[in-house]
């Protein structure tokens, strides 16, 4: 029987048989814990609250109102059914012109109209997930690498590497300077790669940053643009959180703005990944966008988009919605306001308990500093604390190590995927945990239950049929 199984394994490709799918990271383990015991206000009030999922659920009321007033945006209503045939047939990988125009318009508005986007450079993809993979396929050969500042989104390990064979080479940023990306750090990483005989094809930035919630200032961006021009490597900017900048904060500066003002920059090196999953809160609709200033990349990515086009039904809906200037303006403003309020309430609540967070101005999460609670300043110490947070405090937060963070003790906490009540319950749980901790003055380890949350192996079934995928929205926030 064993030999049969071994034969089975060889029947699949190396890509299929390996771990490139990335699901063996602790990033996903917390979700499993949540899945088996999900919080519900009435049915399971002691369940685990999901704070590991970067979703934006704060403005659905605005969207729902818009939908009711715009029935023709759906091809299934009496008002919209005239579009049904033409939309259902439309599979041109250029995408519906009105869709591209609307997305270009939206992207510009998100950036305060300081830059313009050419609809002919808008290429569709299967979410930002598909966009990143496609860009990697276009820019790099197997074995070549992208520089990526740490800490970075855990999904990159899969999206950029799994099927492409491309590598990620970390640019280590740490807490000594608030995780800022410095020219020195990037140069050092580049040099190290040269020493290790690894060919660097590009630098990947997520701006605003996941998991930090910060965004880059003009000087840093200019410096990085000059770096990539010097080394003649690509710059891929993931700007999927561009519209999550909190109201009242300094304007977000897009890479587009920088290259507008920099006539020496080789535009063929500049590419943007975008999506509506975070800014609008529509991850299910799979609206990924590649925007490249390089004609060949636009052309190639467009051909590749055949493998992940946006449903024409969804293109039609989004085209209608995002060409409504009044709605878009209102949405962007209101979303920025609600995110700011939620962030403020949460971080203030934590500060009252002696828990500080990295100062951040954007994102659907904050970067929480729990180093003072670690029994030992190691990754093991971080994992121990994390188990306690899941098992005893009953919150799923994401440990910094899953983002390749250089310093143990940091956690990413998502705040936009729940309602105010749930947020208050989360805060009260942390509050009571912290008071117990202060009273006991015991190392955190001793407070944890002997629950069987083992890392990586126990929840890892080869057949994951009954479980939901790592990205499933598990918190039913009530509006």
């Amino acid at each position: 029987m064993v030999s049969m199984l071994r034969k089975q394994e060889e029947l699949l490709s190396k890509i299929a048989s390996g771990n490139g799918h990335g699901e063996n990271s602790p990033y996903f383990d917390g979700w499993k814990a949540y899945e088996t015991d999900p919080y519900h206000p009435t049915e399971n009030p002691n369940g685990v609250i999901q704070m590991g999922l970067a979703e934006n659920q704060l403005c659905f009321d605005l969207v729902q109102d818009w939908l009711l007033s715009n029935p023709e945006a759906s091809i299934c209503t009496a008002e919209g059914v005239n579009y049904f045939r033409d939309i259902a047939i439309f599979q041109d990988y250029h995408g519906l012109p009105k869709f591209r125009n609307a997305v270009a318009n939206f992207m510009a508005k998100v950036r305060g109209n300081k830059v313009k986007y050419d609809p002919d450079r808008i290429v569709m993809s299967g979410g930002a997930t598909g966009a990143h993979e496609t860009v990697a396929f276009c820019l790099a050969d197997p074995g070549e690498a992208f520089l990526v500042p740490t800490p970075y989104y855990a999904g990159f390990d899969r999206d950029l590497r799994w099927r492409t064979g491309v590598q990620l080479f970390p640019v280590v940023c740490d807490s000594s300077n608030n995780f800022e990306i410095t020219r020195e750090a990037v140069e050092a990483a580049y040099e190290k790669a040269q020493e290790d005989n690894i060919r660097i094809k590009g630098l990947l930035l997520t701006n605003p940053s996941n998991p930090l919630g910060t965004y880059l200032d003009r000087e840093t961006l200019r410096s990085l643009v000059s770096f990539i021009n010097e080394k003649n490597i690509h710059l891929v900017c993931d700007e999927i959180y561009a519209a999550t900048v909190f109201m009242g904060q300094p304007d977000f500066i897009s890479i587009s703005e920088i290259i507008e003002e920099d006539i020496h920059c080789n535009r063929n090196l500049i590419h943007i990944v975008y999506s509506l999953s975070k800014d609008m809160g529509f991850p299910g609709f799979r609206v990924g966008i590649i925007y490249s200033y390089n004609d060949k990349v636009v052309s190639c990515a467009r051909k590749m988009s055949s493998f992940g086009l946006v449903s024409s039904q969804t293109q039609h809906l989004i085209a209608s919605m995002l060409s409504d200037d009044e709605f878009v303006d209102r949405f962007i403003t209101e979303s920025a306001k609600r995110l700011a309020e939620r962030h403020r309430d949460f971080t203030w609540g934590l500060s009252q308990m002696g828990i500080s967070c990295l100062k951040s101005n954007a994102g659907l999460f904050f970067w929480m500093d729990l180093r003072h609670l670690l029994k030992e300043q190691t990754y093991d110490g971080e994992m121990e604390l994390w188990k306690v947070i899941i098992n005893e405090v009953k919150l799923n937060v994401s440990p910094g190590s899953s983002f390749h963070c250089a310093n143990p003790g940091w956690f990413r906490v998502c705040f936009a995927n729940m309602d105010d009540e749930t947020m208050n319950i989360a805060l009260s749980r942390i509050r009571s945990f912290m008071s117990k901790y202060k009273e006991a003055k015991m190392p955190v380890k001793k407070l944890c239950w002997q629950r069987s949350l083992r890392l990586s192996t126990s929840f890892r079934r080869l057949d994951d049929t009954p479980c939901m995928s790592p990205q499933s929205p598990l918190v039913r926030a009530r509006t």
Binding site: I15, I87, I89, I233, S311, L462, P473
Partner: protein, 446 residues
């Protein structure tokens, strides 16, 4: 967009990016371009190019439109759109359960209930294009080979090879036996791959066949299954035209063969399906992989992250496809209308003196114009194709773009236009043939 003079870009793109494996330089696509520049329109451009190179199904849209209108509540997330948020957030790569169940049920109905499908084995992808590529990534390593019977869908050159680095080795089929796949041809292709030092990982069949427009016989399916079992390789059965067989009994799915064998050795079999052809919804990007192999299901599901189906579309189709009354009527009506269309074009071509392969499925017929070729070569075929495109103003697909080993065959689509347009296309062919006939006769005898 302005045409810019390119600066020499000193940063290279990847090898994949600069390769030609995207396949768009094939005549298959050149014809579309000619159509795009001069598209036929009944009133505005009656002498434009008629598109017969696009395998679309437009014959049954009225049924879909009617259904949408009558059930708009279900699709628009209900009154007040309370379901909108949940739907917009849903990005689970397992897909909406109701949708998977509806797909499994629909696939069963198409096969007349002769095969069962487990909704937990349904993996969703954005179109069959993505499904075929994804399966290739899972079943083969770069440099390995897939065996594919010729003639085959030109898109496979890109879908199976481009980013995967996998090779296609043809299983040669010809008109001597109506292009059926034989054990000898299978064996020859396998040996050819071996001779090139390529490891064969799978056989990929399209059943019903594109471009032949014919189903694969039961005995042939059995032989293919025996072959892959003997060689210990996979079998991918692309059944995207299964609902377009002119009668339900004509199409036999590999699923039926597996059931009759009590699923012995079935873990090497994977079925690709889509709603682009049977339901005429290519824009919605609805593809599926149905695998009998647990590890393939798990891995495919994870990989589908790169190519999920919009939850909005899953929601719409879950409703539609779980309405058994609607689907039964649709399947039956669609088959009937396609059959009628097929008979119309076959008769029309016959009147023009043109023979076709006997077909029983699909959105196209396989037309034999080899008697018209100046020379029985690929060049001769392309010259004729060029005439058809620029003189007769019909975009049809030359067999060489489908890797057909015999020159002179053409795929002609008939379901992507109205009956009136088809009449006009047939008239043009008729006139063309008459003209050629006149040209052949010496002048003195006229």
């Amino acid at each position: 967009m302005a045409i810019e003079i390119e600066q020499p870009s000193s940063v290279e793109l990847s090898k994949v990016a600069v390769s030609e494996t995207h396949g768009e330089d094939s005549p298959y696509f050149a014809g579309w371009k000619a159509y795009d520049e001069d598209p036929y329109q009944e009133s505005n451009n009656p002498s434009g190019v008629i598109q017969m190179g696009l395998a679309e199904n437009q014959v049954s849209f009225d049924l879909l439109e009617e259904y949408s209108e009558q059930h708009s509540e279900a699709f628009t997330w209900g009154k007040g759109a309370p379901g909108f948020r949940e739907n917009a957030l849903f990005q689970d790569y397992h897909g909406l359960q109701s949708f998977r169940e509806a797909m499994a049920s629909f696939m069963e109905q198409i096969r007349g209930g002769r095969a069962k499908f487990d909704s937990d084995r349904v993996v969703l992808t954005a179109g069959a294009t993505a499904a075929n590529e994804l399966l290739t990534f899972i079943l083969a390593d770069p440099g390995d080979a897939l065996l594919v019977p010729t003639p085959y869908y030109p898109g496979f050159d890109r879908d199976l090879r481009w980013r995967t680095g996998v090779k296609i080795v043809p299983i040669h089929c010809d008109s001597s036996n109506n292009f059926q796949i034989t054990p000898q041809a299978l064996e020859a292709a396998y040996k050819e791959a071996e001779a090139m030092n390529k490891k064969v990982r799978a056989v990929l069949i399209t059943n019903p066949s594109n471009p032949l427009g014919a189903t694969i016989q039961r005995s042939v399916l059995e032989e293919i299954l025996d072959f892959v079992t003997h060689k210990n390789i996979h079998l991918v059965s692309d059944e995207i035209y299964s609902g377009s067989a002119f009668s339900s009994s004509e199409f036999i799915s590999i699923a039926e063969i597996l059931e009759s064998r009590k699923y012995k050795n079935s873990e090497r079999v994977h079925i690709v399906y889509s709603l682009s052809k049977d339901l005429g919804l290519p824009g919605f990007r609805v593809g599926t992989i149905y695998s009998y192999n647990d590890k393939v299901v798990t891995t495919a599901r994870r990989m589908s992250s790169f190519t999920l189906i919009s939850s909005q579309t899953q929601h719409l189709l879950a409703s539609m496809l779980s309405n058994k009354k609607f689907t039964e009527n649709y399947i039956k009506t669609n088959r009937e209308r396609l059959r009628k269309r097929y008979e119309m074009i076959i008769q029309g071509l016959k009147n023009a003196g043109i023979e076709c392969l006997k077909g029983n499925a699909g959105l196209f017929c396989w037309m034999n114009l080899s008697p018209l070729l100046e020379e029985q070569t690929r060049e001769g075929e392309l010259a004729l194709w060029d005439s058809m495109l620029h003189e007769v103003k019909l975009n049809i697909s030359p067999g060489s773009s489908c890797h057909c080993s015999e020159p002179g065959w053409f795929r002609v689509c008939f379901a992507n236009m109205s009956e009136q347009t088809l009449e006009i296309a047939l008239k043009r062919i008729h006139d063309f043939m008459q003209q050629r006939e006149r040209q052949r006769k010496p002048i003195s005898s006229q």
